[in-house]
Symmetry: C2
Subunit: 418 residues, 2 copies
């Protein structure tokens, strides 16, 4: 079963919008066991859209068109499909009423041109999911099929999950359910993870189900994806849970989160469970730790605040760091302790270091000290982080949050934090 | 002159990497006056790469291949080009030596497989720019041409600017130089800008040179791109400068930056010129203002630090905000004044508000108060920001920096800040 993706819109060709939809769809197709060998971007030109669809159908079983389903004169995906199907567009009045009611429900002004979205090629049908005001289409072409979805990401995703992926699997004769879980890791290199999991992967290769795959995700660490195929969702979940336990037993606490969890959401949850509040002292990260923590709704239960002590005098005056070198173990400890006391929190963490481009206090860019304080217990860790200014800062954020995670969840190193 | 872009790599189809290279290339082609009607992604499969190149050459004058030029067995772009050209690959020993020396100069271990990168199809030539270790190729196919560049963005960009764009323009018979400048604006809607500039755009439409185009860039505001064509770069620059002055006279101080400048770099430069230091008090933005300012190298000249007063008690205890409502004009002023005094800075700015999803102190999400303090002068501004939690926070950051920019650069409102 082969399925191509065609993203439609002149703004994509001009680089005004980056086509992230196709990437997301490509990933979902692969996880559903559907091959996707080509992805094409084409502008708002009917002849070229028609040529692209015909070429795709000549070598694939299905094609997903994304974009060009709106109400304006530029939106010509429906017309292009009708031309490929050699048929007419017919306005569906029930859909027209639904679109009109959708506008009213959102308090948006309805204009007649929106009824163009109710046009449907003869022989095609609307996709049941319709989270926005533009319906998607399923359009059979002999044994093959064209799907059309809007370019608005959440609308596209709901239609993919609800209709297109199940329909493609049905057409491919896939009766099994394929599910996957992402285990997110921090602190081990890809080659080290591959080495640790070598035997496990070899064992899985013999059965072919479940499978394990690695995926680098830059500043967010390395992902380990466990994918399982089974007769139903419960059986697939059970296979995944068993394999997740195997992987965790081997890789240990380098795994910090699963699926939609992030390092910051995990740290906040751990602190919340223990009833601990958090304060942050930031130098090299300049506010990024606070920014990431407060991106999580409900962070205010746990996070009291931060002091961004960029100038040395702010470290001395506000945080009570003793005068002396500020890129050091002692400064990191004093910052963590100072912010914990100053902001009245149970736990303090701190970052100080050199993001670059210039050296500081004799340290090269990438040298970062992470501090942690809980009551009178303090510790600091020196790390060497790779990359340019931006990457050093981002790595420092996830590193200090990871240090805190390990100390809260792991009893062996800092029992005071339990 | 038509040029297609083909991005090569299975990881692109699987959604493991988002193809931002094609977007950048599409933008540069449009600016150079070259049409690009199709952009394709294809995996590391020689037959499919060959088919894609042939199809592209059947309808376009040129094709740029991006990716698959590395040293591994997956990197088969060279082989695919040779097949399309119906010729052989020949190893270029001078290039081999250059690649070897490149590894030595970077202190990286050289392995023999890297010499594959010195293979060149008969009749093709290497692109002179070579900032990495993989050379690019120019491959004539009759009157048409294939270019190949590595997928590493900075390598690709240098080859595009240095060889491919000038070569395409020469082939298209474009003798003129096309240059452009981006004017970044904040605070006016696209329809308002279009209304303000309507007469100017109509006047330019009559001559066709220079041109003005709008481009929405989300949380960074609206861009106005001025593009001019002239016999040489100096003449194009003069046309742009004249039109920039016209646009600035109409739009006024909604324009905050040009080209590579950002809101934060402009604010830091303005403060540096005046010898003013800055401190920030953040509640709703949680550290994002500090994070953006410190992303700019050299921020430490100006930026002393920030207090992220997320909990109300931190506002009261650390910043000296009087107890009472914390999402208010008074709180925003007191936060700005408090952080200015506490961190010993000339200027203080502050954000407090509701990012959502829940209401706070009776205010709906999107309600944000911006504070500013200089010596004893304080002011606060209430704004209503659209979007979800993430967008409200990002808009709040740029809004408070923009308030500071206007007050520093504009004498009419706050003369104390000059």
């Amino acid at each position: 079963m082969r399925c191509e993706i065609v993203a439609i819109g002149t703004e994509l060709l001009l680089g005004q919008i980056v086509d992230t939809n196709s990437s997301w769809m490509g990933e979902r197709l692969a996880l559903a066991g559907i091959d996707s060998h080509f992805q094409v971007k084409v502008g708002d030109n009917q002849a070229r859209i028609v040529d692209t669809i015909r070429h795709a159908l000549s070598r694939s079983d299905a094609v997903i068109l994304c974009g060009g389903l709106g109400p304006t004169q530029d939106d010509i995906t429906r017309e292009a499909i009708a031309e490929v199907m050699d048929t007419e567009l017919v306005r569906d009045h029930a859909m027209g009423d639904r679109i009109r009611r959708g506008f009213e429900a959102r308090g948006r002004r309805f204009t007649e041109n929106n009824l163009r979205q109710a046009d449907c090629p003869v022989g095609a049908s609307f996709i049941p999911q319709m989270p926005g005001t533009a319906p998607g289409l399923v359009c059979p072409v002999g044994e093959r099929v064209i799907y059309a979805v809007p370019g608005v990401p959440f609308e596209m995703r709901e239609m993919m999950e609800g209709t297109i992926l199940p329909d493609l699997q049905r057409r491919a004769g896939v009766t099994a359910v394929i599910k996957s879980r992402v285990l997110k890791s921090w602190g081990e290199s890809e080659s080290r993870l591959a080495e640790l999991l070598e035997e496990r992967i070899a064992a899985l290769d013999r059965t072919g189900n479940p499978t394990i795959a690695f995926q680098a995700s830059g500043i967010e660490g390395l992902k380990i994806r466990v994918t399982a195929k089974a007769a139903d969702a419960a059986a697939a979940d059970a296979l995944i849970a068993e394999e997740e336990a195997n992987v965790r037993a081997i890789v240990g606490d380098a795994i910090f989160a699963t699926d939609e969890q992030t390092m910051e959401s995990v740290v906040l949850d751990l602190l919340r469970e223990r009833g601990h509040s958090l304060a942050v002292a930031e130098s090299v990260t300049g506010g990024l730790v606070g920014a990431r923590l407060t991106a999580v709704p409900g962070a205010s239960d746990v996070f009291r605040g931060a002091v961004v002590s960029y100038a040395s005098e702010v470290k001395f005056d506000v945080l009570g760091v003793p005068e002396g070198p500020v890129v050091s173990t002692d400064a990191a400890k004093a910052m963590a302790l100072g912010v914990r006391e100053r902001l009245g929190a149970d736990v303090g963490i701190a970052t100080t270091g050199v993001a670059g481009p210039a050296k500081q206090e004799g340290h090269p860019p990438g040298t970062v000290f992470l501090g942690l304080a809980y009551r009178d217990y303090t510790e600091a860790l020196r790390v060497r982080l790779p990359g340019d200014r931006r990457r050093v800062r981002e790595y420092a954020v996830i590193s200090v949050l990871n240090l805190l995670r390990l100390r809260i969840s792991n009893s062996s190193r800092s029992p005071e934090l339990r």
